[in-house]
């Protein structure tokens, strides 16, 4: 079943008087349960594509279908609600809330969605990413790898259909990178979690099911 389908997706940014075509008619397809890498040189449109399918930004033209629903024409409040319940994000710079403990960071999306047992589920999620003993630590007390695992637990909080990650290991050492990739692989294989990962690293791309290559705002293969 198709979880993502984009048709002639375009995004043009205006930088001063110059127009930049970040996406130039992207047609892409991702099946449910796939672990897909998006690769390409800097400025090829990878992150812009991720922002579009993650509903963080709206395209200039084209269509995006998430789980069969056309999302580009959704009202802002509907987009926010859809994003909360269906999409999880893992960013490059961890982006945890520094004043919240690990468990509070994971609880946050569930508090927003009104999950009745958010604390218990947050504990379970942190245990599943191997951080049971670190639940009450602040991000500043965790290593980079641990912080990224908290981010992953947070992204999975509302059981999203889609996990989007943008260079999730760019700031991690080899060991932590390996652990995070293992975690993604386990989530994909055991929970059939659909994962789309933007990366520059061909080694990491090779560990996914499929690679979508971007160049000049287009899918090249």
């Amino acid at each position: 079943m198709k979880i993502i389908e984009t048709r002639e997706l375009k995004k043009t940014y205006t930088l001063g008087k110059v127009e930049v075509n970040a996406l130039n008619g992207v047609n892409a397809l991702v099946e449910e349960g796939e672990f897909v890498a998006i690769m390409g040189p800097s400025g090829s449109g990878k992150s812009t594509f991720l922002n579009m399918v993650g509903m963080l930004d709206v395209p200039t033209s084209g269509e995006i279908y998430l789980n069969g629903t056309e999302i580009t024409k959704m009202e802002e409040h509907a987009r926010v609600e859809y994003r909360l319940r269906n999409i999880g994000f893992v960013f490059q710079f961890f982006n945890l809330f520094m004043e919240l403990t690990a468990i509070e960071n994971v609880m946050f999306p569930m508090m927003l969605s009104g999950h009745p047992f958010y604390k218990e589920r947050a504990e379970e999620l942190l245990e599943s990413v191997g951080l049971k003993s670190r639940i009450n630590h602040l991000p500043s007390e965790l290593s980079g790898g641990e912080q990224q695992r908290v981010t992953i637990a947070r992204a999975l909080a509302n059981q999203p259909k889609l996990l989007l990650t943008d260079e999730p290991t760019a700031n991690l050492d080899t060991k932590a990178t390996h652990e995070i990739m293992e975690l993604f692989r386990r989530l994909n294989e055991e929970k059939h979690q659909t994962i789309i990962m933007v990366t520059h690293n061909p080694e990491l791309g090779a560990k996914t099911d499929r690679i979508i290559h971007f160049r000049d705002g287009k899918v090249v293969k």
Partner: protein, 391 residues
């Protein structure tokens, strides 16, 4: 997601953020506290001063309700009957009739024009404290005695115990013993006032049972408006003034002073509001990426607005509570440190009134919340992409 759950989430974040930035927010709290305390202390001082001024005026020259002669009449007709009716009226605590006249007073070859205030000392004591304002000598006990104002005594070089010749406006001349010298705080009376017995003045002026005013003291001064109509009807009089009308010049003066102090307070509040606004604004700028993440995860703009508004409300709550305490302590301290006011010749001090706490709390909270609105609005409108990637 329900409103309750939304508010809980907003409060959770607001508390966490406030706790994280406690040092910065301590400064905001301090600014709010001082602005709130400023409102309480200055208003406490002004209200204390204003009430002292009103009380002092009422204590000397007015009842809660004053009855005057009819238009074009110089004296109140049928004084005896009116006094009898007043004797039997509910809520009339006391009354005193006065006869105003003029004349001259001579002492040791010096003569001055005087204002005569004739009264019944026993009745007067039930309404005003004018007879307690004796600076030298004693109070009236006999009809051939008078009290003179301190400035008149200075002008005539007169002393208590001496004898002075009083010429009434009808030309009748009599010698009186100066029993005491008074300082009332009422400008006109202190300038050239002479106080004497009512009957004595009536006799000397060839009148019988006449008065220029009947000052009525009620059980509560709040009843004055109600009794204006009752007395008008029962006593068949046309000209009646309540105490508020009698002190109009004072309230006018006080209103002007109040406007000045309100401006001072407003400047203080504005300064506090600006500092609160700036600090929350800087906090929002500093946390732009975090706000972007909040929105990316699925936090509604309205909820982000609520978080930062709640933060302002939390700061206002703590700051106002501290300011209330500070204002209370400050006003109470000033209550024990009265100072002499040359205008009313009385010691005045700040006074603590409970309504000052309510007023200051409401005003300060409203100002702080308003100040927090712009940064909160800015936070809620943060562009996710720009915030997360710092562009």
């Amino acid at each position: 997601m329900g409103l309750k759950s939304d508010l809980e989430t907003a409060l959770f974040f607001a508390k966490k953020d406030t706790g994280k930035n406690i040092r910065v927010f301590a400064l905001i709290i301090l600014a709010i506290a001082f602005a709130t305390a400023n409102i309480i202390i200055i208003n406490g001082f002004m209200d204390g001063f204003s009430n002292s001024l009103v009380d002092a005026t009422l204590d000397i020259s007015s009842g809660h309700v004053n009855i005057y002669p009819k238009e074009n009449d110089r004296y109140i007709e049928g004084l005896g009957i009116k006094e009898l009716k007043l004797d039997g009226m509910e809520n009339v605590a006391a009354y005193s009739s006065r006869l105003y006249s003029s004349g001259t007073l001579s002492y040791n070859e010096k003569t001055k024009t005087i204002k005569i205030v004739a009264l019944d000392p026993e009745r007067e004591q039930g309404v005003t404290k004018i007879l307690e304002k004796i600076e030298e000598g004693e109070g009236l006990t006999k009809e051939n005695e008078i009290l003179i104002s301190y400035r008149l005594a200075e002008d005539l070089s007169a002393r208590a115990g001496g004898e002075a010749t009083l010429v009434f406006e009808n030309g009748v001349s009599k010698t009186y013993r100066i029993k005491g010298i008074i300082r009332t705080g009422a400008t006109d009376l202190d300038a050239n006032g002479v106080i004497m017995y009512m009957n004595e003045a009536n006799n000397a002026l060839g009148l019988s049972g006449k008065a220029s005013i009947i000052m009525v003291k009620l059980s509560k001064r709040e009843l004055a408006e109600e009794y204006r109509d009752i007395l008008k009807k029962e006593l068949e009089v046309s000209k009646i003034k309540v105490w508020r009308e009698e002190i109009e010049s004072i309230t006018g003066f006080m209103n002007t002073v109040k406007k000045i102090t309100d401006t001072v307070i407003a400047v203080g509040l504005f300064a506090a509001a600006v500092s609160v606004g700036i600090i929350i604004y800087v906090n929002v700028i500093h946390r732009r990426r975090q706000i972007g993440i909040m929105k990316a995860i699925g936090m509604k703009s309205s909820l982000i607005f609520t978080v930062y508004l709640m933060e302002a409300l939390l700061l206002a709550g703590i700051g106002v509570a501290a300011g209330d305490a500070l204002g209370y302590i400050g006003t109470k301290y000033l209550e024990t440190r009265p100072f002499y006011c040359p205008i009313i010749k009385e010691y005045i001090s700040a006074k603590f009134y409970t309504y000052l706490l309510y007023d200051a709390s409401i005003v300060s909270t409203a100002v702080v919340v308003l100040a927090g609105m712009y940064p909160a609005l800015m936070a809620s409108r943060t562009n996710i992409i720009k915030a997360i990637w710092g562009t």
